[in-house]
């Protein structure tokens, strides 16, 4: 489905600058839900918006959607100032919010599509053919006349995304699109998200599922305590936090002398499983040969040697635990390699 592009001088379809929001509390200092967050999302890219619970992700998303008024900062959607012209910005943005909260349960799949497009000023005739085609694409063709209440959770989620896609906007916000879905349906949603980006849409995706993030996002923006912690490509973060550690499975438990010798050569050695396995950091190519030499010298039999694979979940954990700003990410990653 071709996506019309709004005229803009920036490569970012979505740009957020120094966004701030504080919620007042009676008899207590205000809660700074979002405190100076800035990021952009390039056209045709999938950007992940991540953070622990209470980090400010939902508030950020809602400010971008115009559902919460920021206290300060800027929001540009396809070059339109969303704070000054929210209705104009809404022409370029569609969102699927968390949970099954986006549809009318007493309307059918097709009726929901027609209704929401009607609210965007589009006529039923204009929408009819596109709606049916989209239902087929999302594997909901047979369910077009089924009430949303009678659809499965996964089908409801796909329909909610279909409604957002049918709007034909350049920017899509998806808040936890795979939450509560089975593996098969979650895979389908991931595939759809990648296809949407390939079609030129910009997708801002918020998720707690790091496997989804690692799979579909090219870049991630990580927020913690209302502040930006990292804004980096996923591949770069995985490289930065790439483990140089190896797990060695030994043929026999280490003796005290063997362990002492290994620790002299590799001070950060971690002994597990009663001495039957060790985790050792080998930052340089030569270190691997040194490690094997020490084992041979100490007559320690080696059964297997495997590099520890880093998962994005671990990267995320490190970032929110200790990162303070995007510039510190690289330096922090260096330290984090030594933290279990």
């Amino acid at each position: 489905m071709p996506i019309p592009h709004a005229a803009t001088t920036t490569a970012d379809a979505l740009r957020v600058g120094d966004l701030r929001k504080a919620y007042p509390r009676r008899g207590a200092p205000p809660v700074h839900a979002v405190d100076g967050v800035s990021f952009g999302a390039e056209r045709g890219r999938v950007v992940g918006l991540l953070g622990p619970n209470g980090a400010g992700k939902t508030t950020t998303i809602k400010m971008v959607c115009g559902l919460v008024r920021p206290d300060g900062g800027t929001i540009e959607v396809c070059g339109v100032d969303a704070r000054r012209r929210p209705r104009h910005a809404a022409r370029h943005l569609a969102a699927v919010l968390e949970g099954n909260r986006n549809l009318y349960w007493r309307l059918t799949a097709r009726e929901n599509l027609r209704y929401f497009m009607g609210n965007r000023g589009r006529s039923p005739r204009e929408v009819a053919a596109a709606a049916d085609a989209l239902l087929e694409r999302f594997d909901l063709g047979e369910k077009r006349d089924t009430l949303v209440a009678d659809l499965s959770r996964g089908m409801q989620q796909k329909l909610a995304i279909a409604v957002a896609v049918l709007a034909g906007t350049e920017v899509l916000l998806l808040d936890e699109p795979t939450l509560g879905l089975d593996v098969h349906t979650a895979d389908e949603v991931r595939r759809l998200v990648r296809e949407l980006a390939d079609e030129g849409r910009t997708v801002l995706l918020s998720s707690h599922d790091m496997a989804v993030v690692q799979d579909v996002c090219e870049r991630v923006v990580v927020i913690a305590h209302g502040r930006l912690v990292a804004d980096e490509r996923v591949a770069t973060l995985l490289d930065l936090f790439a483990s140089r550690a190896y797990d060695a499975r030994l043929g026999a438990p280490l003796s005290g002398d063997q362990e002492a010798e290994l620790r002299r050569a590799f001070p950060l050695l971690v002994v597990n499983d009663g001495g039957r396995s060790v985790r050792v950091d080998l930052p340089h190519g030569d270190d691997l040969y040194r490690f094997i030499d020490v084992l041979r010298r100490e007559r320690t039999p080696l059964e297997s040697l495997d590099r520890v694979a880093v998962r994005f979940e671990e990267v995320f954990r490190h970032l929110v635990r200790g990162g303070s700003d995007a510039q510190g990410t690289h330096a922090f990653a260096q330290e984090a390699r030594y933290v279990d």
Binding site: L67, A94, R101, G121
Partner: protein
């Protein structure tokens, strides 16, 4: 654009009326039963010499009360229900402002309410074998500005619902206020002319009960009716807009 918004929302109201048919029928039955109870009261307690007039008064008052209830509370209930379902936020993400979507929804609700009130009035007249004078052009001319005032009240109620969400108790209590609006004649309380829709209700009553039409209605009556409708509509929209701004500033839209 607005035509498509109106079409989509009227279609939604009609579809949901059919899908929630048992609810619609029970609403009709409830008000018919209330009418029968009031009729019993009028028959037993009322002055036999004025029975015919009293029954006509009751027929009109009951129909107007139902119309007011359905109209004024409609989008208040809609906002509360949408907030519970989670779709209120979707309405606010449309390129068309939510207040105009709700206005389209209100038009649909008022139209269906009018149809139901018409049916109920027919059933009531058949029950009492008392037939009101129906001057459709006159009724339409009065209803339009009167319903503008009703719409204004509806938006004020919806504004409260957007901010406070749980307005069910207020909506239930308000039906007694509407009862007073529907039944108290202007002659006994002329100051009520300043209240929303009461002038229109009085003119409707005069037409349906006494057969008063265009000839019996002076320019000052029309001026009062039109100004009342326009003023309350404008005030209601402004109240809703202010409430919506407050809800968005405090992040209350999605909260229930």
């Amino acid at each position: 654009m607005w035509t498509n918004v109106l079409r989509a929302n009227v279609a939604k109201v009609v579809i949901e009326l059919r899908r929630y048919l048992p609810n619609t029928i029970s609403m009709f039955v409830t008000f018919y039963v209330i009418f029968l109870a009031m009729l019993l009261g009028v028959t037993v307690v009322g002055d036999p010499a004025a029975m015919d007039q009293n029954v006509r008064f009751l027929l009109v008052g009951n129909a107007v009360w139902f119309l007011l209830l359905g109209g004024i509370n409609s989008i208040g209930w809609e906002v509360t229900t949408e907030a519970t379902r989670g779709t209120l936020e979707q309405l606010h993400m449309s390129p068309v402002a939510a207040r105009w979507i709700l206005l389209a929804r209100l038009v649909g609700n008022l139209a269906t309410n009018l149809a139901i009130v018409g049916l109920m009035l027919l059933a009531s007249m058949a029950t009492t074998r008392t037939w009101l004078a129906v001057d459709l052009p006159f009724l339409a001319a009065v209803l339009v500005p009167m319903l503008l005032a009703v719409a204004g009240l509806a938006f004020a109620v919806a504004g409260l619902a957007v901010v406070y969400k749980q307005v069910q108790a207020m909506l239930q209590i308000s039906q007694f206020v509407f009862l007073a609006m529907a039944f108290v004649p202007l002659a006994t309380a002329p100051w009520l002319e300043l209240a929303p829709a009461v002038k229109g209700i009085d003119m409707l009553r005069a037409s349906l009960v006494d057969g008063a039409g265009f000839a019996a209605t002076g320019p000052l009556d029309w001026l009062s009716l039109l100004l009342n409708g326009a003023a309350y509509f404008a005030l209601g929209i402004l109240a809703y807009a202010a409430a919506e701004r407050r809800a968005i500033a405090r992040g209350l839209l999605g909260r229930y």
